[in-house]
Subunit: 447 residues, 2 copies
C-alpha cells in the first residue's frame, strides 16, 4: 500500500471520475475539480456520440468492482447493421458468438461514475475553473475568470483528466522539449435522435450499431436504454455534401430522402434537431511528455485525443488507469518511476489507437459498402474459425482483447497484406472456401 | 495603390522590421510592438547563430531598395570548409563561380533594419508586451504582465511576426479547425566565439562556412565584419557526447581536444563561454491557417519555425514578404483575397523548407565527412557544368534561385534517386568522368 497522498484530479469526465474512484480506494484523499456544473443536475448537450465499452474499458471497470452497476445501464451490441441505399440491411458480426460491445449514453454513464466515486469518499468540486498550475509545486489556481481573482490549492499530486483542450497540458506545453500536435479532421458531426416506439420499445434492432455508409459521409445510430437511439451524422464541414451545403429545410429533407430514405419514419425531428444542435469538430491531439517530475500526470483525452471511429476514446483512457495502477503496485511510493514507466508504456499505444481510429472512418463510411471488403471479412472469419490461434482479426484484437494497441496495429497491417494477396487470387469471389486458399494463407503466415 | 490603413506589426525581429518598412513605403501607417527593449540599446544575448542571406532574402531586400546598405554589413561566403579530424581542411564550393551567400550577424542586421524602417516613418514601440488580441476587431492588448492592467490598441490590420512562440498565433490556436504542431529536436546548440587577430583580420578564411562534422554533433563558424567568428556547437541534449555529459572544465577540454583539435588556438574562451552561454533548443513548428478573415496574418517564424541547418529561416520569412506584396499588387484592397492566396501559396513551400532543413542536419554533421557524398557532389557538379539547363543541384535550387521550395524538394528527391543509381555503377569511384556516365544520367533524366 502506498503512503496516502492529497491528490487533485482536474476534470470530472469519464476518465477523471473513474481515476478518482481508483485513487480513493487505494487510500489517497482525492479532490476532483471541474469547470462545469455537476452533470447530474443539467440536461445533456445535444452534442454527444454514444459510447461503446469494450474489453479494455470493462477491464478498468472491473478493477474498480463496478461491473454490474455499469452493465445495467448499457445495451449489448454484437454486430454492425449496414443500411444500404436501397433500404436493405446487411448484418456483420463484430466477433465470435457472444462477443459484444456495450452501447452507453455518455451522460448517464458519467452521472453513474460520479455517484460511485462520491459514495467512495471522493470530494467533487464543481464550477471550479482551473486557470493555472504550478507544475513543480502541484498547486492549482482556480477562479471565476482568467483575469479575475484566483484561489490557490496545494496538493501532493495533480492528474490532468481535463480532456482534449486540457488546461493542465496547456501549462506543460509552455516548456521546452514539449512536443505537441493538434490536427482537425475536415469531417464534423451532429447529434440526431430516433425516439422510442409508443410502447417504449426500440424502432430498430437495439443490439446493432446501425450505419448508413455513403462514401465521405455517413449516419450511425446506437441504442439507449429508454428505447431511443442517439444518431450521429458525420460529414465534411465544407464542399459538396457538407454541413455548409445544407442551409435550409428543403435542402436537408431532400438530402435525407435521397441518401437515407429509410430514416424518414424513424427520425421525426430531423429538421428541428439538425438546425438546433451544434456541429461539432473532430481533432487528433498528440503530445509528449505526459508527466512532470513526480508531481503531475496527464491521462485520457488530455494527452491523446482521438477521432471516434473505432469507439476507443474512453476505452483507451480507461486502459491508462489500469496500466497506471499496475505500475503503482510495482513501484510503490516512487512516483518518479511510476510516471516515467506510465508515459513510456502508454505513448506508443496511444499513437497506435490514434492511427487506427483515423483509418476507421474510411472503413465505416466507405468500405462497409464495398463488396471486396465484405468478402475479405467473410474469408477472415472463415479462416479464423478454422485456426483461431493463428488468426485473430484486427477488430477483435482492438476490441475483444487487451493486446497492446501498437501490437494490434502491426499485426493488422501484416494480416491486411496477406488478405490483399488472397483477394487477388484468380476466381476468389466464387471459390474461396477451399483447402487451397487455406494453405495459401497458412504459407503466408509462416513467412 | 491601396487605401492607406493603420497596421500593427507585432515583433520587431528581422521579418517584422522589413515588413514594416515595406508597408510604410506602400502608404500605410505602421506601428511595431515589441515586448523587449530596443535591440539597438542592448548587448547581444550569446545565443545567436549567424545568418546567411541567400537569393530569396536578397530579393526581398532589393524590393525595399536597401541592398547596398545590407551588403555593407555582410561577408560573402562561397564554400564550405570542412575540418577533418586530422585537422586537414577540404573546401566545397556552394555553387558556380561567383555564387555566394552572405554571413550576417543577427543583431547587427536587426539594428540596421530597424534604423531603416524608423527612418521611413515606422513607429516602433518597445517594451510593449502583447498579451491578447481580438482577431475579429484587429485590436491588441498590451501591459506589464499577463494578469495586470492592459491597454487596448485598435488597428485595421495586425501582422504577427512575433516568432516561434508567437502570442498572436497562440490566440488563433484556440479556434476550432486550427492545426498546429511543435516538435523539438534532441539536438541543442550553444554559441562560442573565435576572436579576431590582433590586427583585426580573421583567424580563418572569412569566405567559408566552417564545419567540423562529427556524426551526431558538429561545430560550425561564420565570419563577422570585426574579424571574429560566431561559432555554434550543435549536439544532443542528453546521452553520450551531449550537453548533459560535459559537466566540467576537464571533460569539456578533453572533448574539444579529441574531436576539434584544430580549434584550441582559435577559441581561447571556450570554457568560460561554454558554461556562461545558454544551451538553446531547436523546434520545428507548423500551423494552418495563417490568417484570420481580412484582419490578421502570421508571417515568418510565427507560422513556420524551422531548424537552422539550411540557413533559411530568415530567407523563408523574407520570401513571405515578397509574395505578400505581389498579392497586394494583384488584389488591391481585397485583403480577404490577399490573405487566402498568401497562406495557400506559402504553406506548401514552408512545409518543404521545414523538411529540407530537418534533413540537412544529417548532411552537414555526417555526410560532409562521407566519401560517397563528396563524390556525389563532384559528379553532380561535373554533369551540371556539361548540362547546366538539365541539372541544377538541390542546394542551388534552394539557395541560388527563387524556385518554390516545394518544387526544389521534389526535384531534389528525383535527382537523388538518379545519383543513387549512378553511385551504384561498377567502378564509379575511379571512372566517373566518362561519356557513359553522362549518357546514363541523360537517359535517367528523360524517364
Amino acid at each position: 500500500m502506498q503512503k496516502p497522498l492529497d491528490i487533485a484530479v482536474v476534470g470530472s469526465g469519464l476518465v477523471g471520475s473513474l481515476l478518482s474512484l481508483y485513487l480513493q480506494r487505494a487510500g489517497h484523499r482525492v479532490t476532483v475539480y471541474d469547470r462545469s456544473q455537476d452533470i447530474r443536475n443539467v440536461n445533456f448537450s445535444g452534442r454527444s456520440i454514444n459510447l461503446v465499452m469494450s474489453d479494455r474499458g470493462w477491464r478498468a471497470v472491473a478493477g474498480a468492482g463496478i461491473t454490474e452497476e455499469i452493465k445495467k445501464i448499457g445495451i449489448p451490441v454484437d454486430k454492425r447493421a449496414i443500411h444500404k441505399l436501397d433500404s436493405s440491411v446487411v448484418f456483420q458480426p463484430y466477433g465470435k458468438e457472444g462477443q459484444t460491445i456495450y452501447s452507453l449514453s455518455r451522460g448517464i454513464l458519467n452521472r453513474k461514475m460520479i455517484d460511485l466515486a462520491e459514495a467512495a469518499g471522493v470530494n467533487f468540486k464543481f464550477e471550479q475553473k482551473v486557470w493555472d498550475i504550478d507544475l513543480a509545486q502541484a498547486s492549482i489556481q482556480t477562479g471565476e475568470s482568467e483575469r479575475g481573482e484566483w484561489t490557490s490549492h496545494q496538493h501532493d499530486l495533480v492528474f490532468g483528466s481535463d480532456g482534449a483542450f486540457s488546461r493542465v497540458r496547456h501549462k506543460m506545453q509552455r516548456q521546452s522539449m514539449f512536443n505537441y500536435s493538434q490536427e482537425f479532421l475536415n469531417i464534423g458531426y451532429k447529434e440526431l435522435h430516433i425516439p422510442a416506439n409508443p410502447d417504449g420499445s426500440h424502432q430498430l434492432d437495439p443490439h446493432s450499431l446501425h450505419i448508413w455508409p455513403r462514401g465521405n459521409f455517413m449516419l450511425m445510430a446506437l441504442a439507449n436504454l429508454d428505447g431511443s437511439f442517439t444518431c450521429t451524422l458525420f460529414m465534411p464541414h465544407e464542399g459538396d455534401f457538407s454541413f455548409a451545403s445544407l442551409t435550409d429545410k428543403a435542402l436537408l429533407e431532400a438530402f435525407f430522402a435521397k441518401h437515407f430514405p429509410d430514416t424518414e419514419q424513424v427520425i421525426p425531428d430531423l429538421v428541428e434537431d439538425f438546425f438546433k444542435n451544434p456541429t461539432s469538430y473532430l481533432v487528433t491531439m498528440k503530445c509528449f511528455p505526459w508527466t512532470y517530475q513526480n508531481k503531475v500526470a496527464l491521462i485520457g483525452d488530455a494527452c491523446h485525443a482521438i477521432v471516434p471511429f473505432y469507439g476507443h476514446g474512453m476505452n483507451a483512457g480507461f486502459e491508462d488507469i489500469s496500466v497506471l495502477f499496475e505500475l503503482m503496485d510495482a513501484h510503490g511510493d516512487d512516483w518518479n518511476a511510476i510516471f516515467r514507466a506510465y508515459e513510456n508504456s502508454r505513448k506508443p499505444n496511444a499513437d497506435a489507437i490514434a492511427e487506427l481510429s483515423y483509418r476507421n472512418f474510411m472503413e465505416m463510411s466507405s468500405k462497409t459498402a464495398d463488396e471486396n471488403f465484405l468478402l475479405q471479412k467473410e474469408i477472415e472469419r472463415w479462416f479464423s474459425d478454422l485456426h483461431p490461434d493463428l488468426w485473430v482479426p484486427l477488430y477483435s484484437r482492438v476490441t475483444f482483447s487487451t493486446e497492446p494497441y501498437k501490437q494490434a496495429l502491426e499485426m493488422g497491417d501484416f494480416q491486411n497484406a496477406i488478405m490483399e494477396k488472397v483477394l487477388a487470387l484468380p476466381g476468389i469471389k466464387t471459390n474461396w472456401k477451399t483447402a487451397e486458399v487455406e494453405r495459401f494463407i497458412l504459407s503466408e503466415l509462416s513467412k
